[in-house]
């Protein structure tokens, strides 16, 4: 189980998460919704062990996490598909490099990268292209392949299909579902699209409530909202 409890994150004067919690069991799909800016991507980064929260705990399959941003093996247990693919890849890599990089870093066979590319609908002509030579959706498919490369036990999809046409969205969700059924991985699907989340998770959707700005911390421009 991937469990986050009482997660608090503060950036400077901004409290972004205030005792947020979410749990994903193996084999389960959990949908996570909430208004823009409420902290979904921040919570996703905490769960993917990429961001140390100011407070709270993350427990991965019974083991409390003490160290963030460290390398294998714990990091590879959770895969994250970032909301913004253009910010999530090295612009010098080809799409195939993007997919093989985690395999190479973990000394796994690189042949898997080709299979993944095909499964995700990246035709061979695209493999040698660099990010600026492909569409946003093509780049996102490479990012999905990269996240699946090391077969994580938990997969966090942060607005994975947010700029994709309906057919490509249905295709990617079907690939992730096939992966989940084959490996028993747990999936956290973050999106604004409630209809998508309802359909994908079979109604297993949580709402992340926005954190009210702390009064003293609110800037003088009047960003405060009343409880």
């Amino acid at each position: 189980m991937l469990e986050a409890t009482d997660i608090t994150v503060t950036f400077g004067r901004h409290r972004v998460l205030d005792r947020a919690a979410v749990t994903v069991s193996p084999g389960e799909v959990v949908g996570l919704a909430g208004p823009s800016g409420c902290g979904k991507s921040t919570l996703a980064r905490v769960l993917a062990l990429l961001l140390r929260p100011s407070g709270g705990r993350v427990v991965l399959d019974g083991q409390p996490v003490h160290r963030w941003r460290h390398r294998a093996p714990r990091r590879t247990a959770v895969g994250l598909i970032f909301q913004q693919p253009r910010l999530a890849v090295d612009p010098r890599f080809t799409l195939l490099d993007v997919i093989t990089e985690p395999l190479r870093a973990n000394r796994r066979p690189l042949t898997r990268a080709h299979e993944l590319a095909e499964e995700l609908g990246l035709t061979p002509e695209l493999h040698s292209r660099r990010p600026h030579e492909v569409s946003d959706g093509q780049l996102q498919r490479a990012c999905v392949a990269r996240a699946l490369a090391l077969e994580p036990r938990y997969l966090i999809c942060d607005e994975m299909t947010t700029m994709l046409d309906a057919s490509t969205q249905a295709h990617l969700v079907a690939r992730i579902e096939a992966y989940r059924e084959r490996t028993g991985a747990g999936v956290l699907a973050v999106s604004h699209d409630i209809e998508l989340l309802e359909r994908w998770s079979g109604g297993n959707v949580r709402e992340l409530a926005p954190t009210l700005p702390i009064k003293e911390a609110a800037p003088a421009t009047g960003e405060r909202s009343s409880a």
């Binding site: 208004p35 991507s41 910010l87 061979p124 600026h132 946003d136 969205q169 421009t221």
Partner: protein, 296 residues
């Protein structure tokens, strides 16, 4: 204001291959109207928008015409495009806006600069409010913005020069439903006041809310161009029908088969390998007459 696109094509040269990104696009967009452009990821939507603004990289070749009133955007030089067109006569909301913001400057500084360059009287706060941002959000640097906030900053930037034509490439990415609706309402209001909007979107529900017409693109070509009402109730092209069926509120099944390779398109209809209605007739390229299909 009228945009008339006539036989617009874009090719990218790559080592050993040519990408057919846009092929023979033809459409008109008049003031007061919103045209939605939809289609499969990688079919050429963003490239079409960039071609209109002369924003393609050096390996691209653009042919055909795109008349913005009496100015041919394809033939216009970089100077004209930079001084008169971008931001002033045509506003662009780029896809993946976070990648287009300057990392070292706050959102407010970027909006202020755009307004100053365009000689506009509004303040960044007023502009931002129209895009659904709170003034406090503007003090942040791009990396401190959530995905949906970066989108709203990009939307505000595109409106800064009050351009008569707005090319909005996925303007609702990362926005929650109330913000999507507010953004659509704002774009519709601009149309009703006499501007024109080309709305590239995956969000068919948003498109339905404001589009007068819908253009469906597949493998670099517009394959259906019709009134929005017709598209949503009775799409004629088999690909358009497949796209609507893929919605989570409908069958949620993808169009079967692999996306086409734009470096090796077949001579006939590019949808043929995936089309349930294909016959021998489809070896010939269908022409667009409302719909480009031999069996629609």
């Amino acid at each position: 204001m009228k945009l008339r696109v006539e036989g617009l094509s874009v090719r990218f040269r790559l080592p050993g291959a040519v990408v057919h990104a846009v092929t023979d696009a033809r459409f008109e967009l008049r003031e007061g109207h919103c045209l939605a452009l939809v289609g499969e990821s990688g079919c050429g939507k963003s490239v079409m928008a960039h071609a209109l603004l002369g924003l393609l990289p050096a390996n691209a070749t653009v042919t055909g015409h795109a008349w913005l009133d009496s100015l041919d955007l394809v033939a216009a030089g970089e100077r004209t495009l930079a001084r008169e067109v971008r931001g002033r006569r045509i506003g662009l909301v780029p896809q993946s806006p976070a990648a287009h913001l300057t990392p070292v400057r706050t959102a407010r500084a970027q909006l202020a600069e755009a307004l100053r360059e365009l000689g506009r009287p509004e303040t960044p706060d007023e502009l931002a409010r129209r895009a659904g941002l709170r003034p406090g959000d503007l003090d942040r640097y791009p990396h401190q913005l959530s995905g949906g906030m970066a989108q709203r900053v990009a939307n505000a930037l595109a409106l800064a020069g009050d351009p008569p034509l707005i090319l909005a490439d996925e303007p609702t990415t990362g926005l929650d439903r109330p913000l999507v609706e507010a953004t659509m309402a704002e774009l519709r209001r601009l149309c009703d006041e006499g501007r024109a909007v080309l709305l590239i979107t995956h969000d068919l529900r948003a498109a339905e809310q404001i589009a007068d017409d819908v253009a469906v693109m597949y493998a670099s070509r517009i394959v259906e161009l019709t009134e929005a009402r017709t598209f949503f109730t009775a799409p004629r092209h088999p690909y358009a029908a497949g796209l609507l069926d893929a919605l989570p509120t409908r069958a949620f099944t993808p169009v079967p088969g692999q996306p086409p390779e734009l470096t090796r398109l077949p001579g006939g209809c590019a949808f043929q390998p995936r089309c349930p209605r294909a016959t021998a007739l489809c070896d010939e390229q269908p022409v667009l007459n409302g719909v480009a299909c031999h069996h629609a």
